[in-house]
């Protein structure tokens, strides 16, 4: 984008610095909370690639993180594998494979069909983990041990140590940000942006949009898998609820709340949602009422998220470049083109 200042990357750097320094001052409980935020932020960033950059609204993203989590738990509990690289490869591989299959079916559709099909396929994955006894059933399973990185008999990283985990998660956040930043600037990311703005024209310029969408699905799935891996290690627990569509909807909210298509937005959104939930939950048992009202309010008055709000308040020009809520969805556009074609006939 033209003349866009480096405000967002700088904001991200400041956030990461804050997170890195937080354990020096923060109470143990809040350090745990921040770790949760970091993992959720990675999850939301991975979805941002689809929603914010490519314009693909999906409601089955938890299927990928959940798959990674379950594969990790199974390998640790049933095979006794705690080797960090091996677990990561397996978890991400499984998540990527799930994304490839679900993506292959889904990218043939768009708009509302895409939402419905990803929701339905995501629930299929949910039932797979819920019903097949091997995975531990409806109540979920606890992780018997935490992964560790050893080399020549020396333990370099032991994720059972909360502080080690904290900084590993933070490093992953930075890594994922850097990766997505790079991808978004590369020709690949430019095509994704083209697909979001005008899919038909992108195709007419010679880009195989299906293939790009599928690749975006797989990349997003892999990164969601990383988030799922970190989450199961963080909480030491995985259950079908982690794969449920409510989880997918929640991470979508995180993306919108922060501001989609910005990469920093998901971090801010994750922090806002986790802290808000904690606050509401302390206030009343009916905290979901307030979360629900909050979500509705965001949709109606804050469509460009907190980043957009900050932009508006700070009169920062780039905020206007964020995606407009009024933008037509791909479906209605497609329908229009079809009608035009027929109308001329």
């Amino acid at each position: 984008m033209p003349n866009r200042p480096l405000v967002l990357p700088i904001l991200f750097a400041l956030l990461c610095l804050g997170i890195a320094l937080f354990p020096l001052v923060g109470d143990t409980f809040y350090v745990r909370l921040v770790a949760k935020i970091v993992v959720l932020a990675i999850f939301a960033m991975s979805l941002d690639l689809l929603v914010g950059y490519t314009g693909l609204v999906t409601l089955g993203h938890a299927a990928f993180s959940g798959t990674a989590g379950y594969v990790t738990a199974a390998l640790v509990n049933k095979a006794g594998i705690v080797d960090l690289p091996a677990l990561l490869v397996a978890a991400l591989g499984a998540a990527g494979a799930a994304a490839l299959v679900i993506g292959w079916i889904s990218v043939r559709t768009s708009g509302i069909y895409l939402i419905m099909i990803t929701l339905a396929l995501g629930q299929m994955v949910f039932f797979f983990f819920h019903d097949v006894a091997f995975w531990g059933g409806a109540d979920g399973v606890n992780l018997a041990a935490k992964p560790e990185l050893t080399m020549g008999g020396v333990t370099l990283l032991d994720l059972a140590d909360r502080m080690v985990f904290y900084y590993v998660a933070l490093a992953c956040l930075v890594l994922v940000y850097a990766l997505l930043f790079m991808v978004s600037k590369a020709p690949f990311g430019q095509v994704l942006r083209g697909i979001r703005i005008n899919e038909g024209r992108t195709r007419a310029l010679g880009h195989d949009v299906q293939r790009y969408k599928l690749a975006a699905f797989v990349i997003a799935g892999l990164l969601a898998g990383l988030a799922g891996f970190l989450e199961v290690v963080r909480s030491g627990f995985i259950s079908p609820a982690h794969v449920n569509w409510h989880e997918s909807a929640t991470v979508l909210i995180v993306v919108i709340l922060g501001g989609m298509g910005t990469l920093v937005g998901p971090v801010i959104g994750a922090a806002a949602l986790v802290l808000l939930e904690d606050w509401f939950a302390n206030l009343t048992v009916h905290w979901k009422l307030f979360v629900g009202l909050f979500v509705i309010a965001v949709v109606l008055v804050l469509p460009s998220g907190l980043i957009g709000l900050a932009g508006r308040i700070g009169a920062l020009r780039w905020s206007q470049r964020l995606r407009r809520p009024g933008a037509q969805s791909a479906v209605s556009k497609g329908a229009e083109v079809a009608r035009e074609g027929a109308g001329d006939a």
């Binding site: 929603v51 609204v57 409601l59 079916i105 043939r108 559709t109 708009g111 509302i112 069909y113 939402i115 419905m116 099909i117 929701l119 339905a120 396929l121 629930q123 299929m124 039932f127 797979f128 819920h130 019903d131 097949v132 006894a133 569509w245 409510h246 909807a249 979508l252 909210i253 919108i256 009916h286 979901k288 009422l289 979360v291 629900g292 009202l293 909050f294 979500v295 509705i296 965001v298 949709v299 109606l300 469509p303 809520p325 009024g326 933008a327 037509q328 969805s329 479906v331 209605s332 009608r339």
Partner: protein, 338 residues
């Protein structure tokens, strides 16, 4: 469905054989014998038996009854999308609201019929309020915002329900007139109320079809489902049409929740459960198609029922496996593009 999948029946001592022989000495030998023969010939699992056949008949009735309920919910979902272009994730929440209203009103008024008569208008009214306050702002916005808005709505409706009626599971008594069962064999019978559900849903479906086929409103619905701009061109009041369609959808969902309450009991998660299955129905049938919703609902109703008993432990997956099959075959559903 898949009779061969049934494994653990012992052919030698199926009760059915006994039933046939035991009855034969009675008066109407020939008819019983021929009936037995008829059932024997279609004996579903390689074993022979009347009981088994009767049980299959009952399972089909169960599946169809569930299918009818699904149809009422899914048709509203697909109508609201086809005509208004809105994804309503909160559709299931209105099903749940209907069920809780049935519980509450039938306790207050003492009459289930009265509860339905009062409850449906209340739900529709609630739906219209939501439509006016929220949905009107969303018609021209990306589906993304519709998804999030209606997800927020699910949370809000769910918590309001918790505040009003708590989180307990409630039973709703079957109205005395419809309680009791039709005895089919020594141990097998079919509850009258379930027949009533099927009949009531069928009636609602017929009325819906008649409205869409013959009335001016139906003409508008058909027109706008094909081409939304056309309605505006024809000078019809789109605003009012949207209200009517949304109200109709909510009314159907709430009505389904109400008549389902006595058999499925009333619990907080019911809206979510029916929503997901309805989505599957809509996806299988083809988004926006009423016919698709009907056949999709029947397919899922039967698959779910037979999956539950034939593949205990993997019943939940049957529905989704079916969906995956249909999508692999027809990515836009069975009745896509009308």
């Amino acid at each position: 469905m898949l009779p061969g999948a049934r494994r653990d029946r012992r052919p030698t001592d199926t009760p059915a054989g006994r039933w046939c022989t035991a009855t034969r000495p009675g008066g109407s030998t020939s008819t019983v014998a021929s009936t037995c023969a008829a059932f024997l010939s279609i004996g579903p699992d390689g074993s022979f038996g009347m009981d088994a056949s009767i049980s299959y008949l009952i399972q089909i009735l169960n599946g169809v009854q569930y299918g009818f309920l699904l149809f009422l919910v899914a048709s509203g979902l697909t109508l609201v999308f086809g005509i208004m272009g809105v994804v309503n994730l909160a559709h299931g929440a209105f099903y749940m609201v209907g069920a809780y209203l049935a519980f509450w009103l039938s306790t207050v008024t003492g009459s289930f019929a009265l509860a339905i008569l009062i409850g449906v208008p209340i739900s529709v009214l609630l739906g219209l309020v939501v439509e006016r306050i929220g949905f009107t702002h969303l018609y021209h916005r990306d589906h993304l915002y519709q998804v999030l808005f209606t997800f927020g709505l699910i949370l809000v409706i769910g918590e309001l329900r918790a505040i009003l009626w708590g989180n307990d599971v409630h039973g709703v008594a079957v109205p005395p007139l419809l309680s009791g069962s039709v005895a089919l064999t020594e141990t097998q019978s079919y509850p009258i109320y379930r027949l009533f559900i099927s009949v009531a849903c069928l009636a609602a479906a017929v009325v819906l079809a008649a409205v869409i086929k013959t009335t001016r409103l139906g003409m508008m619905i058909r027109a706008s489902a094909t081409n939304r701009e056309m309605v505006q061109v024809l000078g019809l009041n789109v605003d009012r049409l949207f209200m009517v369609v949304f109200g109709l959808g909510i009314g159907l969902a709430a009505f389904a929740g109400m008549i389902a309450a006595p058999v499925s009991s009333v619990h907080p998660g019911m809206g979510d459960e029916i929503l997901i299955v309805s989505f599957v129905v809509v996806v299988i049938g083809g988004v926006g198609s009423i016919m698709g919703a009907f056949w999709g609902a029947m397919l899922i109703g039967l698959a779910d029922t037979f999956g539950a008993v034939l593949l205990p432990g993997a019943g939940g997956a049957v529905v989704y496996a079916l969906m995956a099959l249909v999508l692999a075959w027809r990515p836009n559903g069975l009745f896509a593009g009308r």
